[in-house]
């Protein structure tokens, strides 16, 4: 991830992403609130708000794309405290995210939605790493190459949708 990104920049990311959405966030929050141990170390991870479709036998992963990020807004500060460095999803978020990004020096990126067949071609490894009982909502790890992104809220709290 480049370090001079600012709002509205388009770039392609190659590396690891942690897939997590509603149900997994809820479980992590409960564990965090109870001071219980977490299934993974979130330090420096990038969270991709997503839940892939079923994996075809002959492909690395099934259709995959972003879900609506704003549903995860209430969990964001906890995730920042756990050390994640950015989130990826779709759509605008509540204004609290602008403030949190500035306070914690973090980023929010959007990637194309309704383009799940294209994005699946950019995934080169895939594994379920926690909460398999949640099905598509499990915590999953993927490695992507040339994943198309745009900076929607930068680390100064500048929000693309409010420009």
């Amino acid at each position: 991830m480049k370090h001079n990104l600012s709002v509205g920049d388009f770039f392609e990311y190659s590396g690891e992403l942690i897939i997590m959405r509603d149900a997994a966030h809820n479980k992590i929050k409960q564990l965090f609130d109870d001071n219980s141990s977490l299934p993974i170390d979130f330090k420096d991870k990038i969270i991709f708000y997503a839940g892939p479709a079923k994996k075809p036998d002959n492909l690395v992963i099934g259709a995959i794309g972003p879900t609506t990020s704003s549903r995860m807004d209430n969990y964001l500060e906890i995730m920042y405290k756990l050390g994640i460095k950015a989130t990826i999803g779709k759509g605008n978020r509540s204004s609290i995210v602008d403030l949190l990004n500035k306070k914690y020096n973090k980023y929010y990126f959007v990637c194309p939605s309704g383009a799940a067949a294209t994005l699946a071609q950019k995934v080169f490894s895939y594994e379920v790493i926690a909460f398999p009982e949640l099905g598509p909502e499990a915590i999953q790890k993927i490695v992507v190459v040339d994943f198309p992104l745009m900076v929607a809220i930068d680390n100064l709290g500048n929000n693309f949708y409010n420009l």
Partner: protein, 272 residues
């Protein structure tokens, strides 16, 4: 006429699979003209989904059926059981996603069969048909209902729709297909807003006044400039359609349903 649903089983199944894998032809026409951000990713998407047999979107939705039933037509099966068995088969046999939760709140747990399907039976004076929407959660979350004053000005009515789309539109995969239900009781307005999502993009209201309102809304929504993917370039709505119903003298219900740009839908007609 007697509708033998078993006879239509394969046709219904094929159309639901196709709606998930093959791009809506009206949407494709627009995408081919779009040159803004992520245009290549979006135009590659429907080519890849077709070749690789993976869905256009990972959210293969909840299946909503609209059975339009003429008084002369009838059937004698458990329609929920029949359509559910079909949906279960489709979502188990294909690389789709199981996207339903058995209990909505207390014991949220994936059903791993994508059931139940949502079934609406609607009396019609036209020919009977079975229509369906593949409805993703992100767009469904933009559903809206408000009981307005029946004397509200046209400007204020339009602004209710604009305000809702302006505030929320970027989250539901624009360019949006927008369905409006106007009039009727509250639940009928919501149902009519969904029925509006089934219409083809050029299928404007037969009533001149409502046709003008549809066109006016389309222009004003596009002027919001939310744009394709919410990135401020290209259209904000591909189609905005209105379905109306008579209303209580005290009421004017306004319902808005939103569909993502893919507008995955289909219809099966019954032959005599």
């Amino acid at each position: 006429m007697f509708i033998n649903f078993e006879y239509y089983r394969k046709q219904i199944k094929d159309k639901i699979i196709k709606a998930n894998l093959i791009i809506n032809s009206e949407v494709k026409v627009y995408l081919e003209t779009y040159k803004g951000p992520f245009s290549k990713v979006l135009n590659d998407n429907y080519k890849i989904s077709k070749i690789k047999n993976i869905p256009l979107c990972q959210d293969t939705g909840i299946v909503e059926f609209f059975l339009f039933l003429n008084k002369d037509d009838y059937f004698n099966i458990d329609i929920q059981g029949f359509l559910d068995s079909l949906v279960k088969e489709i979502y188990s046999e294909n690389n789709f996603r199981f996207s339903t939760s058995r209990d909505p709140y207390m014991k949220r747990k994936n059903t791993f069969d994508n059931l139940p399907s949502m079934i609406n039976i609607i009396p019609t004076k036209e020919k009977s048909n079975l229509s369906f929407l593949i409805k993703g959660g992100g767009s469904e979350n933009l559903s809206f209902l408000k009981m307005l004053k029946p004397t509200i000005s046209k400007n204020d009515l339009i602004n209710e729709v604009l305000k809702h789309i302006q505030l929320n539109g970027s989250r539901a995969c624009p360019p949006l297909v927008i369905g409006v239900g106007l009039g009727g009781t509250a639940e009928k307005a919501v149902l009519n807003s969904k029925i509006s999502l089934l219409k083809n993009f050029n299928d404007y209201n037969k009533d001149e006044d409502y046709k003008n309102l549809e066109k006016n809304l389309e222009t004003k929504i596009n002027n919001l400039n939310i744009g394709v993917q919410g990135l401020k370039e290209g259209k904000t709505t591909l189609s905005t359609k209105i379905t109306v119903m008579p209303s209580h003298i005290a009421s004017l219900s306004l319902a808005i349903s939103v569909d993502c740009y893919l507008n995955r839908k289909g219809v099966v007609y019954f032959e005599a």
